[in-house]
Symmetry: C2
């Protein structure tokens, strides 16, 4: 069985789906592993490290895909410009593809996969059940993103995060306000706390309070008058009335903060606008906002994907692909996630997929020329 790892094509994507260490384990289990040349170079995993692990290096994508049984990728397949072919068209019929297919954003890709008879699994629809924890790539990558967002904020800020007592006076700790206490938000809180900042956090899910407080941050409590927690622990959209209450609470904490980090994304939906222009206007000059939801439409008025915008003396940063800026470790974690899922499909050295398994059911998008994922089908029918 040949497992292949292509070089990611999407610009600036530095991650790779498998690291040498994880490749070695698959090779030890009796599989053939091939890696496209330079696929790991940008994330600190040179070809030599894969060769040392026993993997083969393919000089081109064409060579790589030839005879492949399993394809492990990070981002969804796209057009390979140098091969002048879509990646899906290079994959052998009947092959298994595992990656972030992002079907909630673009369900259309499922049609192409079904047409080419690829059995595909999307890392971003793995159910959040305890048996699937080690396969939860959304969490592992979001955790790295939250860490990086806090570091980028510290880098951009002209203030110290920690309190300092010096001969030149006492420097008070920076005030960091984090909106959204999911995996990314919690890691941003933990990182800002590590640096010594005074951290406040808000989440429309009241259940987040305990987690926020366990990290040494203050939870901003707002009575929304309704629950905002969807199945699986994700946040869901709330009513207009609840949004207004949220807005008022957020306003005063944004105005008092030196740093605001927003992390409120609802999977498959446009991110809610949480920090409005009047809030930005009430911030102190020199303050910093990091909009982690900028790629999903943004939580912050004026934020732009991949850009830095100055508004009312506030620096608004809209970072894209934060997990990609942590590629040495996010590749390592992703490799662990993806091989955990792959191992679920393997019995006695061969692919043996139980399509009735809850995890498999949750993340299988296409099989045998059909779209089998219910939510994807619904989105396509819309």
């Amino acid at each position: 069985m040949k497992i292949v790892i292509p070089k990611e094509i999407i610009p600036d994507e530095q991650r790779i789906a498998l690291v040498p260490n994880a490749a070695a384990k698959l090779i030890k289990a009796g599989f053939e592993v091939a890696v496209e040349t330079n696929a790991g170079a940008a994330s600190g995993y040179p070809d030599a490290a894969f060769t040392e692990a026993g993997a083969k290096i393919a000089k081109t994508a064409q060579e790589l895909y030839s005879g492949a049984n399993v394809i492990l990728k990070v981002r969804p397949p796209v057009l390979n410009k140098s091969a002048k072919k879509h990646e899906i068209d290079m994959m052998p019929s009947g092959a298994v593809l595992i990656c972030f297919l992002e079907v909630l954003r673009d369900p259309g890709i499922a049609k192409l996969l079904a047409k080419n008879k690829i059995t595909s699994f999307s890392m971003d629809t793995v159910p959040r059940i305890s048996r699937a924890q080690s396969m939860d790539a959304l969490s592992s990558q979001a955790s790295a993103a939250g860490y990086k967002a806090a570091i980028i904020a510290a880098e951009a800020s002209h203030k110290f995060f920690p309190m300092l007592t010096t001969a030149a006076g006492t420097i008070p700790p920076a005030k960091v306000f984090i909106i959204g206490a999911g995996v990314a938000g919690l890691q941003a809180i933990a990182t800002a706390r590590r640096l010594g900042a005074n951290v406040e956090a808000f989440d429309i899910r009241a259940a987040a309070k305990g987690e926020v407080e366990s990290l040494g941050a203050k939870f901003v409590q707002v009575d929304l008058g309704e629950s905002a927690e969807a199945e699986g622990g994700y946040a869901k959209e709330v009513s207009e009335e609840a949004k207004k209450k949220e807005h008022e609470a957020v306003h005063q904490h944004v105005a008092a903060a030196d740093i605001v980090i927003t992390t409120a994304a609802v999977p498959g939906k446009k991110a809610p606008l949480l920090v409005t222009d009047d809030m930005v206007n009430d911030m102190k000059p020199g303050s910093i906002i990091i909009d982690m939801a900028v790629e999903q439409g943004g939580n912050v008025d004026s934020s732009k994907p991949g850009e830095v915008v100055y508004k009312h003396g506030v620096k608004i940063i809209g970072p894209i692909n934060l997990p990609g800026k942590m590629s040495i470790h996010t590749s390592m974690m992703y490799a662990r996630n993806i091989t955990s899922l792959l191992n679920l499909m393997i019995k006695e050295g061969k692919l043996d997929i139980n399509f009735e398994d809850e995890i498999i059911k949750g993340c299988c998008i296409t099989h045998n020329g059909e779209i089998v994922h219910e939510l994807t089908k619904q989105l396509l029918e819309k």
Copy 2:
């Protein structure tokens, strides 16, 4: 008595010599304070904050300097392009100037100051005695620089600094190696430790061991066979033999590190080359080097001021004016330092300078048309 604060002219210098809070204290003591318009805008101190503190806003440098008795600046005077005059030529004869004159780098400026009969004091030659601690701007600014260097390293790194135990495996802490444990180095150590990194530090001054260890870092011990500590606690240049011993010790620790931060600057001399190309070559791909001495010639082979250089898969960052990237807090600390020195020159609401005072003697560069600073005179005679 009129105390004036011009807008800094050197490109990207965002600091200001006095913050509104410090201005208010001087005004309360009976002095007139004038600030050039927008002088604090880039560091989060708008004109309105100074007006509120009771300061006057001057629309131009010309208007500001007119009738000025004391001029407080951050960087050395340079040509004011919009006024088509050198800043020194705009200062009234007999006025007192306090700023970083950087005479060790360019003693020539002392001639111009003497010619125009400016009584000048340099913040960078204030003696390091305990009575002058609150005036030690070199330390306050170096502390901010060390903090920022560690944050920039974390921002550039594709690895987590802290150890993380996640469902996707355990992430080991990043290995950070810091060369030079002066004020900047110690703050870089403290910051990397706050973030959870595994920190090692080296300093040719064996006395640094205790301070390094008190921050939770490991001190790399090397027997140089001679002392490397100069008067005032600064590092001094060592013999060729000692350099070779240092080189060998540094090599293995650089090779093992994910992050190297070099902070070894000898005041008034070219910074020693400590990280050679063969050391960089032995680092893992994706590693990061921050050369804090890049403006003094650099501790790292290939580092360039204000640039990012990639060598052997290692990202070498040569940041310039790090204190300027912390301008909200460094302006606050600098204001405290400079007013402490100014207060030493004031008796009963008037300038009354005791030129026999050890601190005044140490930092007075020119007075009554003469260069009075011994080291500056020696440098000019060379």
